[in-house]
Subunit: 180 residues, 2 copies
DNA sequence: ACCTGAACACCGTTCAAGT
DNA sequence: ACCTGAACACCGTTCAAGT
């Protein structure tokens, strides 16, 4: 058996485990998704998972990357995301259907460095995305960072606390409009 | 033994357990503070705690109330909290030294209704506090709610992600100043 | 190299038994 | 009414043993 074939097999199995984990984390939450349950969903034994990932937090990070890649693909094709407010609203709506995960990322970031690192990277991505949009709208440079931060905090806040679409829009317009 | 005496004894012991839990939750976090460890700190057996509280989440809520009462007493006496920005900054600083707990409240709110209820009540308190301050500063009524929300989100965001005092101030001034 | 059965140390919680 | 020792069902993780 050539190493190429081996590599492919390994990647496929890892993918199955990560996909199963991503599904369960999204639907049941991190705590409810025991390694035993994830293993069952992926068709392996619990301890087999440890051959592919270091521990449950590393599995969480892999699942998050899996879901993020999927989300970026979708945002790219979303026709209704014309201006910045709508783009952020789309992202908010997307994340709202996965709000379980936000809490988990925050909770595990305090316990596991792998998750904290992922979290930091995610925010860097969000920040640069929003700052770019704000700059395009003519927001002065010295306000860019504070406004981008505030946008992230607003998004996270609205994820942590159920917010109706109208309130969400008014909050975002307050932060993202040049004169707001 | 008259019921009054009994009542006092019970309250004292409950207080010891709750105080021990509040300490450990603050210093080690919720997960690290096992019932066994809390019991040891309070000088009882793990299962004794269940005579006083329903479960670990109810104990968390009792600990949060304990800590909140303490914080309100301190804020009342803080001389440096003159205007609204400074008051919120004081609160932020106070909570920053207890940032463990914020994540726990969010995480457990998804799992336990007692915690979710406490969380909701806490935000109602914060909201009314900020809205009152904003109204005093002349912020128009129709902006009050969105701005109060945004303030809460900003505070929570800065708790979840380490923020230096200067950035914190500029973010808060952006939200809390009438012209911002 | 990959996978498993069995075990380990822990967790929150319960319950029969004591006082 | 209050407290305990012992147990229960679970958890994430490890490890010797198999292929």
């Amino acid at each position: 058996m050539p190493p190429n074939r081996r590599r492919r097999d390994r990647d496929e199995k890892l993918h199955e485990i990560v996909a199963a984990a991503a599904d369960l984390f999204t639907e049941l939450g991190f705590e409810q998704s025991s390694m035993t349950r994830i293993a069952r969903a992926a068709g392996v034994t619990p301890n087999t998972i440890y051959w592919y990932v270091e521990d449950k937090d590393a599995l969480l990070v892999a699942a998050l990357d899996h879901l993020l890649a999927d989300a970026l693909r979708q945002l790219d094709q979303a026709p209704e995301a014309a201006n910045l407010v709508d783009q952020v609203l789309w992202t908010l709506g997307h994340l709202q259907r996965r709000s379980n995960l936000i809490g988990v990322v925050h909770a595990r970031s305090e316990q596991a460095e792998v998750v904290a690192n992922w979290h930091e990277g995610f925010h860097a991505l969000m920040d640069s995305f929003v700052m770019e949009g704000l700059a395009r709208q003519g927001v002065p440079d010295r306000e860019l960072q504070a406004r981008a931060r505030l946008t992230t905090y607003a998004v996270e806040g609205m994820l942590a606390h159920p917010t109706d679409p109208a309130t969400a829009r008014s909050v975002l317009e307050l932060v993202l409009s040049p004169g707001g």
